[in-house]
């Protein structure tokens, strides 16, 4: 047994980490927020040129043909720097949806462009409040009718993968019949939109029953993003408490602080371990994926929630300022906690998968 990332996977992660650390200092994120940026376009182009966008897209469609774990180590690093990119929308969700459900022609039409980054896609599923994803939007006579909201990254996307009941449709966004309305996004580094489809031309993808597997695979990737972000929160909190003096000694020397961060570290290792297994199952075991993905999702939400909140807490008042860096993660954590279904949804999926296996 070898339950660890391979040397190649670790190297890929380190390569991504080095580049992202250099390109995404926190002041850069502040600049993007203040400038009302939709995304960090130069970074997107750079990731594309290095092959990161196409990492898990098959070679015949312009990608590098690597697996879920390779994609995952990149996701982990994007989470670590709280990147302002449509990677999760365009690559983790849309490209994987097309790969899983699309016809050969659809794959050939869209995947190379997604891999090269020249085209960005979004994933339109949610329809307002509540944990259940899209149910009301209809597909009729080659057109989509109805409203999806919120949809991440729809501003820079020119294609939407739209959930229509238990099917997935492909709808180009730059056409009459599609209205995009920007919403105020709680995560200031991931824009959200309302998409109104009024007879917009679209085509269904032929794959049936794909959505659960797509969401499981994406849940694993989200877990890696959360793990990377949690590690960043822990590192930030640690650095601060080691530096900060209080009552004549470092804040890090107080048990209340030590025990808090020990609990955070433990949650992160548990979450990372579930994420690793999920990444393995995503490619190697369809039978084990549903439980593995749900467990990865639940423990990643738990770890990131604790890490983001306690990081801000140990910073004290300074953590509540825009100039400190806790808030990026404090906001991103809530996005990851509700994207693709909240805790209750994934708890149900884990219980169902466990009861089935028993």
């Amino acid at each position: 047994m070898d339950f660890d990332l391979s040397d190649e996977q670790k190297m890929l992660g380190e390569q991504a980490r080095g580049l992202l650390a250099e390109r995404t200092p926190f002041d850069h994120l502040r600049g993007l927020i203040d400038g009302g940026a939709e995304w960090d376009e130069p970074l997107w182009r750079e990731l594309a040129s290095m092959g990161f966008l196409g990492a898990a897209i098959p070679e015949e469609f312009g990608g590098l043909g690597m697996g879920a774990l390779e994609l995952a180590v990149i996701q982990q690093e994007l989470g670590r720097v709280n990147a302002c990119l449509p990677f999760f929308s365009s690559i983790v969700l849309a490209a994987d949806a097309i790969r899983l459900a699309g016809s050969d022609a659809q794959k050939a039409q869209w995947l190379p462009k997604l891999a090269s980054g020249e085209l960005v896609a979004c994933f339109a599923s949610a329809e307002g409040a509540g944990p259940v994803m899209g149910q009301g939007v209809r597909f009729e006579n080659g057109t989509i009718l109805g409203t999806k909201h919120p949809v991440s990254d729809a501003g820079v996307a020119s294609l939407a993968v739209v959930q229509v009941g238990d099917r997935l449709a492909l709808g180009p966004l730059d056409q009459a019949g599609v209205t995009r309305t920007k919403l105020a996004s709680f995560d200031q580094l991931r824009p959200h939109y309302r998409l109104d489809f009024d007879g917009a031309t679209a085509e269904l993808m032929p794959g049936l029953g794909i959505i659960p597997m797509l969401l499981d695979r994406a849940a694993v990737q989200a877990a890696f993003e959360a793990v990377g972000a949690s590690e960043a929160c822990l590192a930030m909190g640690l650095a601060y408490v080691k530096e900060r003096q209080m009552f004549g000694r470092p804040l890090s020397s107080y048990q209340a602080i030590k025990h808090k961060l020990a609990d955070v570290a433990t949650s992160i290792e548990i979450a990372k371990s579930n994420a690793y297994f999920g990444g393995w199952a995503a490619d190697a075991s369809a039978d084990e994926l549903p439980a593995a993905a749900a467990a990865a999702r639940l423990s990643a939400i738990k770890a990131f929630e604790m890490a983001a909140r306690e990081n801000l807490q140990v910073h004290g008042g300074i953590g509540y300022t825009f100039e400190a860096n806790c808030h990026f993660y404090y906001r991103r954590e809530r996005l990851l906690a509700v994207h693709l279904g909240n805790r209750g949804v994934w708890a149900d999926r884990l219980i169902e998968a466990t009861a089935k296996a028993a």
Binding site: H259, I270, S299
Partner: protein, 406 residues
């Protein structure tokens, strides 16, 4: 990432499986039955003898010392195969093999190694641990049991004091003992380590009446107990280092339990929710069980990561403490939830309901795992200091002679 055995591992597993299938069935315990202590001890001893005869005792212990010299991963494989049978195993044997042997091997003399290692591996010598005291638990270095050298020139040590939580002390042959030999120096520096024949005059073992109603732990009173200097392990004053060797064995040996949340999930499906369904449909119950399930799975995968580190020759160190820290609280919480699911029936079940008393016992016992082998708070400190590099706690006893402490 690969969950399959390497060819060498697979060959080792096949060898272990073949040997176990020929020898293990005769030693299996009846499931669900509790044996009297003496009989359980005999059965443990017999299985250890069988293991030793087959060359499966002391798997990771160096060959030169009579072990098999295998890697950590091979020991895990053997344990996995062994766990397929319901065999008599536990502290009656493992205190000797996992705690006494490492300290004797590392700090003992050649003569001591020759005298103790082979009989322990063979199941002929069994051990208890005489460490904790009423005033020295997590702060083991505060122990007060005293040893002074006899004035008759024999070199013997005369020991007086009291030890607690010594599992199996009433039935084991020898004990590993840490005592204070010099109160005039700071507390960790004045300790020495001995092995003690439990039949020595002055050794009195009494069962502790525990909150569970059981008495598997003992307190051991030592009154003018005479120990030959030949039974001292390591130099005088080296008792703390010896104790740490023992406790490392304890940490690495700590293992998980069965899945409490799967057990709850099954139970939930049998308990009516008062609305025509069962508690398996109750959102609040499902949520709590699912969170624990995710945690349990993560812990198992984390242990697999730690094993992988060991197999690559890395030392997980205090990372291993996270396993116990996470599991002990979770088990207590889940067993508590299991009682809540039963309602008042959790407190008093009708005769013939065996599951409820089991749950009651497990809930009571769950508190032990948060204290024994490193209390939650000690583990959090270890993780903070050794994994996260945070400062040690401020101490009032540093560099102060033990006799000057209050």
């Amino acid at each position: 990432m690969d969950f399959n055995d390497t060819p060498q591992e697979a060959a080792f597993r096949a060898e272990a499986r073949a040997w176990l299938s020929a020898h293990a069935p005769a030693h299996e315990l009846p499931r669900g039955a509790t044996l009297p202590d003496a009989e359980e001890a005999d059965r443990c001893r017999a299985w250890q003898r069988e293991l030793n005869a087959g060359g499966w005792a002391g798997l990771t212990f160096p060959k030169a010392l009579g072990g098999r010299g295998l890697t950590g991963i091979e020991a895990v494989i053997f344990a996995e195969e062994e766990a397929r049978y319901h065999l008599p195993k536990g502290p009656f044997i493992s205190i000797g093999t996992n705690m006494a042997l490492p300290v004797i091997a590392k700090h003992g003399t050649d003569e001591q190694r020759a005298r103790f290692i082979a009989p322990t591996l063979a199941g002929d010598l069994t051990w208890c641990q005489l460490f904790s005291e009423p005033s020295a638990g997590s702060d083991l270095g505060a122990l007060r049991t005293k040893a002074v050298q006899a004035e008759d020139g024999s070199g013997d040590w005369i020991v007086n004091g009291q030890k607690v939580w010594s599992s199996w002390a009433h039935l084991t042959d020898w004990g590993i003992l840490v005592v204070r030999t010099d109160p005039s120096v700071p507390k960790h520096k004045g300790l020495s380590f001995f092995v003690l024949d439990m039949k020595t005059p002055g050794v009195e073992t009494r069962p502790i009446r525990q909150i569970s109603g059981m008495s598997e732990f003992n307190e051991t009173f030592l009154t003018d107990v005479r120990i030959p200097d030949a039974n001292r392990i390591g130099a005088v004053g080296e008792g703390w280092a010896c104790s740490m060797t023992v406790l490392m064995g304890e940490r690495l040996g700590a293992s998980g339990h069965g899945s409490v949340s799967t057990r709850l999930l099954k139970a939930a499906a049998t308990i009516p929710d008062g609305q025509g369904g069962t508690l398996a449909d109750d959102r609040a119950i499902r949520q709590q069980i699912a969170e624990a399930l995710a945690d349990e799975r993560g812990q198992a995968h984390f242990q697999a990561r730690l094993r992988t580190m060991v197999s690559k020759g890395e030392n997980p160190g205090a990372l291993a403490s996270m396993v116990k820290l996470a599991s002990a609280s979770r088990n207590q919480q889940m067993l508590g939830l299991g009682m809540e699911m039963l309602g008042l029936n959790a407190i008093a079940a009708l005769p013939g309901d065996a599951a409820t008393p089991d749950l009651q016992y497990d809930y009571i016992y769950s508190t032990v795992m948060r204290i024994a082998g490193g209390a939650d708070e000690v583990l959090r400190n270890q993780i903070a200091e050794r994994v996260l590099g945070m400062p040690g706690d401020m101490r009032m006893d540093k560099d102060v002679p033990f006799e000057a402490l209050r």
